[in-house]
């Protein structure tokens, strides 16, 4: 791919320039100190080389000002590194609202990636330039990690709960992605390619690709098959709260606290229904732990998300009164 020896991978996301700038800053500080210490040692070594076999050095014990200086100056530089790194990290961990959501499921030793319209890819990911992309990461077995060097970001994919990561691709092209958390025999083969496309190309690719059942449709079917619908009646007359408008809203719980209904909350409510009980409802729901695959949970979640725009019943909803979707 490259004939010469590059020192850094292509810069293809909003984070890449920031991470590279941090790298240059910290490298400069470190090269400065390494060079300083090396020069001092080499200089002293020759300058004060033993002149006679029985010669001793001149005793100099301590200098507290010097000690203070070489504690404070490194501390200030370290705090600069900490602060700048924190800014980049907080940005990375704080997903913007307007995102294109891709569901990513890792299993030994492959990745399944689903576009919002349900189109599935294996070890391939197509995304448009300039959009904020959010990956919702789930694992079927052990811990994996989704890593795109060209985007300078990674996130562990942990069984039992969802992690999310986001980035905004800035340059069209094809880039490696890797599993970077050791996950067993074929860990090294658990990678693929991210294809970043111009938005028009992406739209054409999305519509031109056939196959891939709609996530929402699959979720709706499961919602009926698993008899969720018998209790979660849309108009709020069931034994359980209506799910209309739920996604992204604040839910009032029996203990008086509220929680944002995000993917993690929905997942937890499916697998451990008694973990958080909606105010005014009884803990009736059975657990679906072990009865649904990660992909089925994702499909159900997608269906519940699609209900976001449905009318919220006045009664029979878990949504906290004053605020709806932020």
């Amino acid at each position: 791919m490259q004939s010469q020896l590059p020192l850094y991978p292509p810069e293809a996301s909003n984070f890449a320039p920031h991470v590279d700038a941090l790298m240059v800053f910290i490298t400069s500080v470190c090269v400065f100190f390494t060079a300083g210490i090396t020069i001092a040692i080499v200089y002293f070594f020759f300058k004060y080389h033993r002149k006679a076999p029985d010669a001793v050095g001149i005793p100099i014990h301590e200098d507290s000002r010097l000690e203070a200086a070489w504690m404070i100056v490194p501390l200030i530089l370290a705090m600069a590194m900490f602060g700048w790194g924190a800014v980049v990290y907080v940005d990375y961990r704080h997903t913007p609202r307007d995102t294109l959501d891709i569901y990513v499921t890792g299993k030994q030793w492959m990745w399944k990636l689903q576009q919002p319209n349900g189109l599935k890819e294996i070890n391939e990911l197509h995304v448009p330039v300039g959009r904020n992309i959010r990956l919702i990461l789930a694992s079927e077995d052990v811990i994996h990690d989704f890593f795109v060097p060209a985007f300078r970001v990674k996130m562990d994919v942990v069984p039992g709960h969802y992690n999310t990561m986001w980035f905004r691709p800035t340059k069209a092209g094809r880039y490696h992605f890797f599993c970077s958390q050791y996950c067993g025999t074929n860990h090294a083969l658990m990678g693929g390619w991210v294809t970043v496309m111009e938005p028009s190309d992406y739209a054409a690719w999305l519509s031109g690709s056939s196959g891939g059942s709609d996530q929402v449709v699959a979720g709706e079917k499961l919602f009926a098959e698993k008899a969720c619908i018998t209790c979660h009646v849309p108009n709020g007359t069931g034994r359980s709260p209506s799910l209309n408008g739920l996604y992204g809203a604040q839910v009032l719980l029996a203990d008086g606290t509220t929680v944002t209904a995000d993917e993690a909350y929905i997942r937890e409510s499916i697998l451990q229904p008694n973990a958080k009980i909606v105010a005014g409802y009884q803990p009736l729901m059975p657990t679906f732990q072990g009865q649904l695959t990660e992909e089925q949970i994702l499909a159900l979640t997608a269906y519940i998300k699609s209900l976001q725009s449905q009318p919220v019943p006045v009664k029979g909803s878990g949504i906290a009164p004053p605020t709806g979707k932020k």
């Binding site: 791919m1 020192l7 850094y8 991978p9 941090l22 910290i26 490298t27 470190c30 100190f33 390494t34 210490i37 090396t38 001092a40 040692i41 002293f44 070594f45 004060y48 033993r50 029985d54 010669a55 001793v56 050095g57 001149i58 005793p59 100099i60 014990h61 301590e62 200098d63 000690e67 370290a78 590194m81 900490f82 700048w84 790194g85 800014v87 980049v88 990290y89 704080h94 030994q108 811990i143 990690d145 890593f147 060097p149 060209a150 970001v153 990674k154 996130m155 942990v158 069984p159 709960h161 992690n163 970077s180 050791y182 996950c183 067993g184 025999t185 074929n186 860990h187 090294a188 083969l189």
Partner: protein, 547 residues
């Protein structure tokens, strides 16, 4: 050579006088032999890893075997070589000598800890021999506790058992340093090697129980399907990482603090002047041990841990860098106006500083949250911790062996050859591991048996370096062994150095000192020690600070 010393004091050289000895010096040699065996095993595995990575597709073994190679390399090197190396060999041998004691406080417990180490080691070797181990030395769950098909259980049991060896050694050192110092050996006259071991012992006795419990839980989950870490049984895999790193990060300081102690002895000896900033170096050892317990979750910045936790652990990780920096600055300042020689131990010590500086500074990259999201779990990390643990700890260990070899064996080794070996080690090490920093930044993940072709050039460089590095380790093994019979007789204090251990015969008698010594001088003080036979006392250029 003295007529009787600890090596020949008992009748003959019978094996039983070794296996039942309670002499700390003999136990140190038992450890020396056994950690060398594990170093050799770990080294052979490392060599196979580097040969395999010569080609992008993998040149040598299957993926399963490759995963076992790096796992067993890590387990052998960390738990059975690096952690016991300096404390159980050099610390065991030297701490009683340095403080003027006849032995450690609990000689029988000292022997017991060696047997525990051997039993733990046998379990791990059994695991290696019966299917091997493919979980990574980190044993992350649920891979280790549910999915792995390799011999995890005996390995976990072996490491659990071995932990007690570490705890007992730490306990022995702490009690010995507190209660058995010779008259006049005040806390601030202690050699910095003893300070470093005191700090190390604190980490050993406080941290080791946690790894023991953690691995036990993982083992129970594997054997009896108890749900601690497996989400399918209601466990939390991230909990394992918190527990694991609570010990395994401080364990890095178990490996490197003693090496810092070694260097703090070598530098003033071969600069022939007191160490600069004694109390700051001593205090920084304790600071590293304490703060080192509060940084563990910097291994987990991309697990999805809360942003606040990440900010806290990043901040604390930067704090722990400061006491390490203080040590390096003080060592460098000690050279100023010294009378510096380039005897082999000094060459190793200066090599240590060079490699440790790079290893320590690259820790700043990983502690940086915004950078860690890119370089976490890549070869950058591999390079970083090898600079600390091999460049630092092993260089310190080998340097320490060279420094105290005349004390341990009574004989000297070839001068130029050993200096040459130190240079080979330094060059080979950098050639092996520096390219891995670049590989990591380019995005090559750790623990890959195959990699994209664009990473090949750097991997070939690294393997080439490894072959030089291997020579750097084999040379000392050969000439040190050779010197035991043919080396020049060293005499009690060949360098000469200021510590109490050099006031007795080489090799020392079984009871260490014929007469209990009394300390009347400050540490590393060449100017009030006419007994060293140096130019001390003769008029020198004026200087501030005297004793």
């Amino acid at each position: 050579m003295p007529d009787t010393h600890y090596l020949n004091a008992t009748y003959g050289y019978g094996i039983r006088t070794w296996l039942l000895t309670t002499d700390h010096k003999r136990i140190a040699l038992l450890y020396l032999c056994s950690v060398t065996v594990f170093f050799f095993i770990g080294g052979v595995l490392a060599t196979m890893i580097r040969i395999h990575l010569l080609t992008p597709g993998g040149a040598l073994v299957t993926p399963e075997t490759y995963n076992k190679l790096f796992t067993m390399h890590g387990v052998a090197m960390i738990f059975f070589f690096l952690i016991p190396s300096i404390p159980a060999v050099l610390g065991n041998f030297l701490i009683p000598l340095m403080i003027g004691a006849k032995d450690l406080a609990f000689p029988k417990i000292n022997l017991l800890s060696w047997y525990i180490y051997i039993i733990g080691g046998c379990f791990v070797l059994y695991s290696f021999g019966t299917g091997g181990l493919d979980t990574g030395w980190t044993f992350y769950t649920p891979l280790s506790s549910v999915y792995s098909n390799s011999a995890v259980t005996p390995a976990v049991v072996g490491i659990f058992i071995n932990g007690f060896s570490s705890i007992l050694t730490g306990l022995n050192f702490i009690v010995t340093i507190h209660t058995m110092r010779a008259p006049g050996m005040t806390w601030f006259r202690l050699p910095l090697f003893a300070w470093a071991h005191y700090a190390t012992s604190l980490v050993m006795i406080l941290g080791t129980p946690v790894i023991a419990i953690t691995l036990l839980l993982a083992g129970l989950e594997r054997m009896f399907h108890l749900g601690f870490f497996n989400p399918a049984l209601g466990g939390d895999p991230i909990l394992f990482q918190h527990l694991f790193w609570f010990y395994s990060h401080p364990a890095v300081y178990i490996m490197v603090l003693p090496a810092m102690g070694v260097v703090s002895e070598i530098i003033p000896t071969f600069a022939r002047k007191p160490i600069f900033g004694y109390s700051f170096i001593a205090g920084s050892s304790i600071a590293i041990a304490v703060i080192g317990f509060l940084v563990w979750a910097h291994h987990m910045f991309v697990t999805g841990e809360s942003t606040y936790a990440a900010l806290t652990f990043s901040f604390l990780s930067y704090l722990v860098a400061i006491p390490s920096a203080v040590k390096v600055f003080n060592w460098t300042a000690t050279l100023y106006k010294g009378s510096i020689s380039w005897d082999p131990p000094m060459v190793y010590a200066l090599g240590f500083i060079g490699l440790f500086v790079i290893g320590g500074l690259t820790g700043l990259f990983l502690a940086c949250l915004g950078l860690d999201i890119h370089i976490h779990d890549t070869y950058f990390v591999v390079a970083h911790f090898h600079y600390i643990m091999v460049g630092g700890a092993v260089m310190g260990y080998v340097g320490g062996l060279h420094f105290w070899w005349p004390k341990i064996t009574g004989r000297l080794y070839p001068d130029s050859l050993s200096r040459f070996a130190a240079v080979i080690l330094f060059v080979g090490f950098n050639l092996t591991f520096f390219p891995q920093f670049i590989l990591g930044y380019l995005g090559m993940p750790r623990r890959y048996h195959t990699y994209p072709p664009e990473f090949q050039v750097l991997n070939v460089l690294s393997t080439a370096g490894a072959s030089i590095l291997a020579l750097g380790y084999l040379l000392p093994m050969v000439y040190l062994a050779w010197s035991m019979r043919y080396g020049k007789v060293a005499g009690p204090n060949p360098w000469p150095a200021t510590g109490l251990e050099w006031k007795t015969d080489s090799p020392p008698p079984t009871e260490n000192f014929h007469v209990t010594p009394e300390v009347t001088w400050e540490p590393y003080d060449y100017n009030s020690r006419p007994d060293l036979g140096l130019a001390a006392g003769k008029p020198l250029a004026p200087a501030h600070g005297d004793d």
